[in-house]
């Protein structure tokens, strides 16, 4: 893997350079008490000494609301106006390795026989720059789903690790897109020495030590396969209130809805985020709803992430970022649910 060093000033210059080059440049920005990924107009807006953005960066490939076409109509005729599916070059800075893992997990779904060009055209135009974690909390469990708070190769094009001098980032370029980014601004990236590589290694170890939550998911999928009906579901998820906070912050939740917004003369159809935990997700027009009670809806969330998606696409639909647990209004901690499942699986019940 190509490795380099970039110092803090040069990182600012890189952001500046991309902005000048006309790229949509996104970074964590402080908004009230939170950090959110937002387009920045200057490097000064970007905040890299932070924990985790409140919303995952999936919105840069899959916006919450996206017009998919518009139309005008007269009595007997309709004209469809396609939307522009060419997207601007975008570079997103400051993801954590768990965030960077999201897109690679979802590619399989969006490419399954039919390619969602909204996703892939954006994907092609977007580069992700991740950073080794400096903070973690007890909702974090990335290392239990095969990731790591310092992993360079979870999906980012460049990965930065702040070395212990607090001034220089060790740069890894796991993808061609990342290498291109380096070659586009050659003067900003300096060669990395062996001692830099060693310093990066120890910074990585320090980051790994931040993860206190360790789950054993080895038997979870198997248990889920034979326990669609189990007392656990109601016991653990009866308290779920059925909002979309977990899904909408999740880097891997991909369910969506179509909604038309129209007047008699015309309108637009939007593709909007949706969530299996919301009560009308599976409500038929006839009034029939197979998932007619909340714990069945929450069960779908767990089943989809930790069984169905693995069976279908070979990947766990979770990066262990912990956003769903942290933001749940009633503290429905996904790690607690998985711990309970793992315990049941281990005890054979």
């Amino acid at each position: 893997m190509e490795t380099k060093i970039i110092n803090k000033q040069d990182l600012a210059k890189l952001i500046d350079g991309l902005i000048s080059a006309g790229a949509r440049t996104v970074a964590p920005v402080k908004v009230g008490q939170m950090h959110l990924f937002q387009e920045v107009r200057s490097p000064a807006e970007a905040v890299f000494d932070y924990f985790l953005a409140r919303r995952s960066p999936k919105e840069f490939l899959f916006p919450q609301t996206e017009p998919i076409f518009s139309y005008t109509r007269q009595k007997d005729s309709v004209k469809i106006h396609p939307v522009d599916m060419a997207f601007p070059r975008t570079v997103v800075f400051g993801l954590r390795p768990c965030d960077a893992a999201g897109p690679g997990i979802l590619d399989a779904l969006f490419a399954w026989d039919y390619e969602d060009k909204f996703w892939f055209n954006r994907r092609e135009q977007t580069a992700f720059v991740s950073m080794t974690c400096a903070q973690a909390d007890h909702a974090c469990f990335c290392s239990s789903v095969g990731l790591s708070p310092d992993a360079a190769d979870t999906g980012a094009d460049l990965h930065l690790t702040l070395l212990d001098d607090g001034q220089r980032y060790f740069v890894e370029a796991p993808t061609g897109k990342g290498k291109k980014l380096v070659s586009e601004f050659p003067s900003l990236f300096k060669p990395a020495t062996d001692s830099d590589a060693a310093a990066r290694g120890s910074a990585g170890e320090k980051a790994k030590g931040l993860i206190t939550r360790k789950l054993d998911l080895s038997n979870v999928k198997q248990w889920l396969g034979s326990h669609f009906t189990d007392e656990l579901w109601e016991r653990l998820s009866a308290k779920c209130i059925g909002c979309g906070a977990c899904a909408f912050e999740c880097p891997t939740c991909h369910c969506f809805d179509f909604q038309d917004e129209a007047t008699p003369e015309g309108g637009v159809r939007c593709k909007n985020w949706d969530s299996c935990c919301i009560d009308n997700f599976t409500l038929h027009a006839s009034g029939h709803n197979p998932r007619n009670i909340q714990h069945k809806r929450y069960r779908q969330r767990i089943m989809h992430k930790f069984k169905y998606y693995i069976d279908k696409f070979g990947k766990t639909l979770c990066t262990g970022c912990g956003r769903c647990s942290r933001q749940c209004p009633v503290t429905l901690d996904i790690a607690e649910v998985l711990e309970n499942i793992a315990a049941k699986a281990a005890s054979g019940s």
């Binding site: 998919i68 969006f110 969602d116 309108g267 197979p290």
Partner: protein, 283 residues
């Protein structure tokens, strides 16, 4: 790999309604062709596939293409008025433009059925998705052995495709049994009176060299399955089509996901043994 090039898979093509038939007080059939003639020539689909139909300004809904692909002049879908889109459809008249995406989903293995007896069992608004198979078998009549159709509705009024029933009933190479729920009959009703599963049991069809296509309301399916089980039918030879709520039709939006399948892409046609492997509560 992908079958759509750089196309927007969520953008419909325009179709025109060329005829509308009121089947029952709340069920309508729409005959349609693409607005662009080239599309009509290029269009092909398999028996049992579905489409996403747009009423512009209202939304999009999922309906089966309920004619056989052997019928080339136009295509059909049929719907009952239950929600926003179907309510708007009830007001759509011939000449108006709708949107169509498809054909999507899997199909009935009509080639595998060749040389076998076919038993079609359906109730209420579920005759249209069965009818595409019936029509196909009739169009290729010599490929199939006996054709038996059992169709029931709550009342005589609720029977759809009355004109087709008349046609099928008059054919010597089709055995048609129609029934209405007790109390749903009229003085001149000549068919059976009773629930579909009860009539099925009375008919006592042979399982020998027979495939079953069974589509109807969940309760009808459930009890009919018990009857077919009693009669010794193999669930692997019973086919049905699931009607989960769908949005995208192409396996992305997650809405129709049940167990390990995305009904829109892995289905909607399943054998009953495949259905039994899914979490029943979620269907």
């Amino acid at each position: 790999m992908n079958s759509n090039g750089n196309q927007n898979i969520y953008q419909p093509k325009l179709i025109r309604v060329i005829d509308k038939i009121q089947e029952t007080p709340d069920v309508f059939t729409f005959k349609w062709r693409f607005v662009d003639e080239k599309e009509n020539e290029a269009f092909d689909f398999k028996v049992g596939q579905f489409g996403e139909f747009t009423v512009f300004g209202e939304g999009e809904s999922t309906f089966d293409i309920c004619n056989s692909p052997t019928q080339k002049e136009y295509n059909e879908f049929c719907c009952r008025v239950v929600g926003k889109v179907t309510k708007a459809l009830s007001k759509v008249e011939p000449g108006e433009t709708l949107g169509f995406r498809g054909p999507y989903g899997g199909s009935f293995p009509v080639d595998k059925y060749k040389g076998s007896n076919m038993l079609f069992i359906s109730g209420g608004i579920a005759l249209p998705p069965v009818r595409c198979v019936i029509d196909y078998c009739l169009a290729k009549r010599s490929d199939y052995a006996g054709l038996t159709i059992l169709y029931g509705a709550r009342t005589v009024d609720d029977l759809v495709y009355k004109y087709m029933l008349k046609d099928w009933g008059s054919r010597p190479d089709v055995k048609l049994v129609t029934t209405v729920d007790p109390g749903g009959e009229t003085p001149d009703w000549k068919g059976e009176v009773g629930f579909v599963p009860a009539i099925l049991e009375k008919m006592n069809p042979s399982r020998e060299n027979t495939y079953v296509v069974l589509i109807g309301p969940p309760i009808m399916i459930k009890i009919s399955m018990q009857v077919l089980g009693k009669l010794g039918f193999d669930p692997g030879r019973i086919y049905t089509s699931l009607e989960n709520k769908m949005k995208c039709g192409v396996g992305k939006c997650g809405r129709c996901n049940v167990g390990n399948v995305y009904v829109c892409k892995d289905g909607p046609v399943f054998t009953y043994s495949e259905i039994l492997a899914l979490p029943q509560e979620d269907i």
